[in-house]
Symmetry: C2
């Protein structure tokens, strides 16, 4: 499969040119060979989403695709070599992320089986589980369910209500669902295909002679269906979640347990174990830290959603830019030639800033994936490394999933009625991507975690922190914030001072000025938050909770600003990977467009905080417009460099059909004019002429 | 069907209360009885969308629903009394708008049949057509197609390529599709059900002895299918558009014509006729004005989309606010009680400003519908009245359709994973509403029309204006703009001047201050645009086109600001319709929230233009937060007042089931604590305690 480039306007001599193949190579990144191999595999129509399939057929098709992946897709790379894997964590995720181009249901159902179900056995279990349970999970002989979320608790996993109570007489856990809100819910593979589940429950046990203690959330391996009949095992019940807004190739469902007995050996006991007599033990003394350590082994879900969301944005822009480069509507300077949509300013405004952000996110994701690989390979897995990984993932996954939704919708609208047809994929991808903003951590909740991390160096028990503790941490932290501030004031001051408009635009174009404006904003927001929250340290719990809540929006905004900065820094670092001068020039304009768009979006903040004068702020918009003009001739190159061939784009309007239709129509009119066959237009009445 | 109100927090004594029934009455407006009757009809499950139906079944179901409407739905109100209608234009649209709550496909397919197909016969045809063709269209004996858009031309209808060439020898028109881009496309009823079509084509004819002249776009009534067999008639061909992002109850498709002969009598000849000998005549001398007069008879499509989009936003908020008022997650001030989502600031930020805008749009739509009724009833149908109607519709339909998409998505995300389940309707409504931003005038194109109208008093040939003419009009207009400016400077100046923060908040809360800030922005933007475009008056066509395009984004933004103002003014006027004092107080806060949110959204503009000082701008956000706190206790009342009973809401999470689940879970834990049966939590290790 080779990269297909599309027709584009001929660049004038003075224009830099983009080396599309070299740029594609940079974008494919460290795991580029694996990504390309996966795309070649996915060119096979057997992996493609068939639109409009009835629910049951779509579910069966995706299950079948998972089986194909087992034999052809190297889905086991992340597992240990001794179990048939390759100990390749980054490469494994890179492959899974590419699946979104075939069918997002395929990506997510694969994620359920190998990224959640089998991974939980690997990371939360020990040698016996690996030997006894992993082979079935890896080979898909045992389709599995990751049963964590309940109808009543999604974001607050620590409060799930399912209990696993140890019975020393039989050496079993009694797994039980106490009420309706405690049903496990939204679980992939639960409605139909799952034979076993990793079930998260409050582990209750007592040492001999002592009262029962709740040791918090632990995971157990629980068979749920008879593999022969597909019927639920005794005590297990469930429900189909039915149709969803998208991802209907996955059989999401609900599970509940009525005093189901699970052998002691099925407790995934790496971080917490129960002896025969009921005595609990754990290598991690703090219950809070233990809980977050267990959850942190599952961070790969967020990482791969980030990568897949960026890929969805790339597809959206490949489709919309290609169509916008061929579609014509309304005449402009000419009587006979209609204007190509992408030559219109508003069309550029709709698509090019989103293209810039997609590039930024692609570079940011590559960094995240490298960090993930460092941690999971053990090359750099200190507590701080893990916390950094989690914070970056918690910042980037919201940014990229919201961006994908925004970009898919903008692309769909930019393609007009054609964008609404399912054959052009944009609505289908949007429907599938929608829930990426919710699962593996609701975006708004994740951003609050990021804000807490920004506010606090005390990262253990980070997310589980209650209002009082949080307030105290913030109070301690507030004093330190100043230390972390780089000496921004000088340069920012320069921007606020006098000088003509051209010079101020030149200044904002500089990498340093953009960096300082973006960094300053994050640091100032965090410092302001810390100051505002300081009184909570001495307040009552109720008052502290009220104060925290009154700043929830500011926390979310600060975390977003941090995510913006991460993306901008990654894009800026990425520029150095580009050797070709013309390509680097164009990418630098694109990075500038991203930086300036961020500043434009938050212009009021910069004005209120005196970081930009009104005069400087006024020119940001016109500089964005100038960048749009410069980038417009390169738009097609920039989307072609994503490297998606027609088998992965699969949108009728991006197939070249529109260009053919336009050429045919223009040829017809040209011929009519040349042959004098065109009827003359009705003359305007005399008074209108005057 | 009575209004079902939901449980809500008990208001404190000092709080004003909302008279929900009275507010519902105000919101239902002038055509409230018809709206209520329609909702009662739609409570019948026969009208409800069945999710997940295969394409073919959904299409048949909606066709069947249209037949039910013929017998039970008073769909003919807008038609003349002598033909069985009621000459009730506003009331008719009010009824159609309500259909969206049953199934948006039902609303839009009804719109195709009665709002487009039959309406075109009524408004573009004459007595013979009314007698001969309307009865079948009205009774649905002849399901019809409105064949205007082509694959190659949607927004620029004047450039469609289908031709109708008069042949005096046979007194027929020869209807022909010259190339692929000229296929009619995206047409409801075209794929399957349509037996006839109103086809728009370039009308070419010649007076005896003269060369053929193209008189521009005209409409012809064309049978397309054999009603017995359902097969295309000779020379007619077509294609199914297939699956769409939504509205799959409508059989959209393509049509093309190969020298199809249409009797001369089938030209809908109210605005342009061809005599037996081929001589063309029209009551409107200017071809441009004639074209826009023909199109303007179809403005009701935009009006009813505006109303339906507002209704979709109401449904979204009814669902999300009800759920957010029952769903609990994370503890706050209490160890045992989790916090109701809507008590969280960020949740309020997501939902309440959108609720405020939905109210504004509801009041704005009521005004638009009244204007529409005045024009179409003939009570006020001067050229200016019609142009005002078109401009308001072109401003409001983009605002409400984008707002519906934004609100449905925000509501879906605010409901988390539950929001993604089809049973909760939010994704389904979003998918159906998506194309409302494109059809009946692409939002971005409509906003440019609004901007042109704002820029130009010379309203004839408004939309068809070429770049040179536009530039000249603008140049003339620029001098006049100052005349239209109300004396804002004084009050705005006061806001920028000194005084403490509390006072400035108080000032921005005042109706006059909000009005002046919002009005000033529109007028200044238009004046700036006019100034910037002035040089185009003397420029070459190419240069004028370039200049116009360089300000396209500003034009769109100015039109949006105008639409914001229209909504705000309508909301403000609406306050006076509320007699109950408490209700009016709460609605006034809601109007303030809308006004302040608009100012917050455009804060950079106010700062750059010196309309607000940095100090004043800084408090806008905190005043928004204060309004959220004030409005929060009334949120349920405000969505209950939309008057949708359970048959129209039909979302499992808004049915009370969530409250039941939460109550059951809390009762369980209470009982456990009371009975001493709750296992104690694992103690924190010593060092963590220290």
């Amino acid at each position: 499969m080779t990269t297909v480039t599309s027709p584009r306007p001929v660049a004038t001599a003075a224009e830099p040119t983009v080396d599309v193949a070299a740029l594609e190579h940079v974008l494919l990144g460290r795991w580029g060979d694996l990504r390309k191999a996966t795309r070649e595999l996915l060119a096979d129509p057997r992996f493609h989403k068939v639109e409009g399939l009835p629910l049951a057929e779509h579910r069966e098709r995706v299950l079948g695709q998972l089986r194909l992946l087992v034999s052809e897709g190297e889905v086991l790379r992340a597992f240990p070599a001794e179990l048939g894997g390759a100990d390749d964590h980054g490469g494994s995720l890179a492959r899974f992320e590419e699946l979104v181009a075939a069918d997002p249901s395929l990506q997510i159902k694969s994620g359920v089986q190998w990224g959640l179900f089998a991974s939980a056995i690997l990371h939360l279990g020990t040698a016996d589980h690996h030997a006894r349970l992993l082979p079935g999970a890896m080979s898909l002989d045992v389709p599995g369910v990751f049963a964590m979320t309940e109808t009543g608790h999604g974001s607050d996993v620590a409060s799930i209500a399912t209990t696993a109570t140890y019975d020393p007489d039989t050496q079993e856990f009694v797994l039980h669902t106490p009420f309706r809100a405690a049903w496990k819910d939204y679980l992939g593979n639960a409605a139909l295909h799952g034979h076993a589940a990793v079930v998260f429950a409050q582990l209750v046990t007592s040492a001999p002679g002592e009262d029962p203690v709740n040791h918090g959330v632990h995971a157990l391996y629980v068979p749920i269906r008879d593999p022969q009949t597909g019927e639920f095992l005794p005590g297990v019940g469930g429900e189909d979640d039915g149709l969803k807004g998208g991802l209907n190739g996955i059989d999401n469902g609900r599970l509940h347990f009525d005093h189901v007995r699970v052998p002691r050996a099925n407790l995934l006991n790496r971080y917490g174990d129960v002896a025969e007599d009921g005595t609990y033990s754990s290598p991690i003394a703090s219950p809070g830290r233990r809980f977050f350590t267990m959850l942190s082994t599952l961070v790969q879900g967020r990482v791969s959603l980030d990568g897949a969301a960026v890929n969805a944005s790339k597809l959206a822009l490949k489709i919309a830019v290609t169509y916008g480069n061929q579609r014509r509507q309304f005449t402009g300077a000419s009587d006979t030639d209609e204007v190509v949509l992408l030559d219109r300013q508003e069309h550029q405004r709709r698509l090019l800033p989103r293209l810039a952000q997609t590039y930024a996110q692609a570079f940011a994701h590559e960094r995240l994936l490298a960090t993930f690989d460092d941690v999971f390979s053990g090359r750099a897995d200190s507590d701080t490394d893990r916390q950094d990984l989690e914070t970056i993932a918690a910042a980037l996954k919201p940014a990229s999933s919201w961006h994908a939704m925004d970009t898919l919708q903008a692309a769909r609208e930019a393609c007009g009625g054609a964008g609404y047809l399912t054959e052009n994929r944009l609505t289908s991808l949007r429907d599938d991507l929608d829930v990426y903003v919710t699962f593996e951590g609701d975006n708004t909740v994740l951003l609050q975690l990021v804000a807490k991390r920004l506010l606090s160096d005390v990262a253990k028990d980070l997310a589980h922190i209650d209002a009082g503790t949080m307030a105290r941490l913030v109070a301690e932290r507030a004093a330190d914030v100043a230390l972390h501030r780089t000496p921004l004031t000088r340069v920012v001051q320069t921007l606020a001072d006098g000088g003509d408009v051209r010079r101020s635009v030149g200044q904002m174009r500089s990498t340093e000025a953009q960096r300082e404006l973006l960094t300053d904003r994050v640091e100032t927001m965090v410092a302001e938050l810390a100051g505002a929250l300081r009184p909570a340290g001495k307040a009552s719990r109720a008052e502290a909770a009220r104060l925290l809540d009154a700043h929830q929006h500011q926390m979310v905004e600060a975390a977003r600003a941090h995510a913006d900065l991460l993306q901008w820094e990654a894009f800026t670092a990425g520029l150095s990977k580009v050797d070709d001068e013309g390509t680097r020039q164009v990418l630098t304009w694109l990075r500038d467009l991203f930086g300036l768009t961020l500043i434009e979006r938050n212009l009021a903040w910069y004005l209120i905080h005196g970081r930009l004068s009104a005069g400087r702020a006024r020119v940001v918009g016109s500089y964005v417009d100038r960048l749009l003009e410069r980038l417009r001739p390169h738009a097609q190159d920039l989307v072609d460099a994503f490297g998606y061939g027609p088998e992965l784009v699969r949108a009728a309007i991006a197939s070249g059909a529109e260009a053919e239709r336009q050429d045919e129509a223009r040829a017809y009119y040209r011929e009519q004019r040349a042959g004098g066959r065109a009827p003359r237009p009705e003359p305007k009445p005399e008074r209108a002429k005057a």
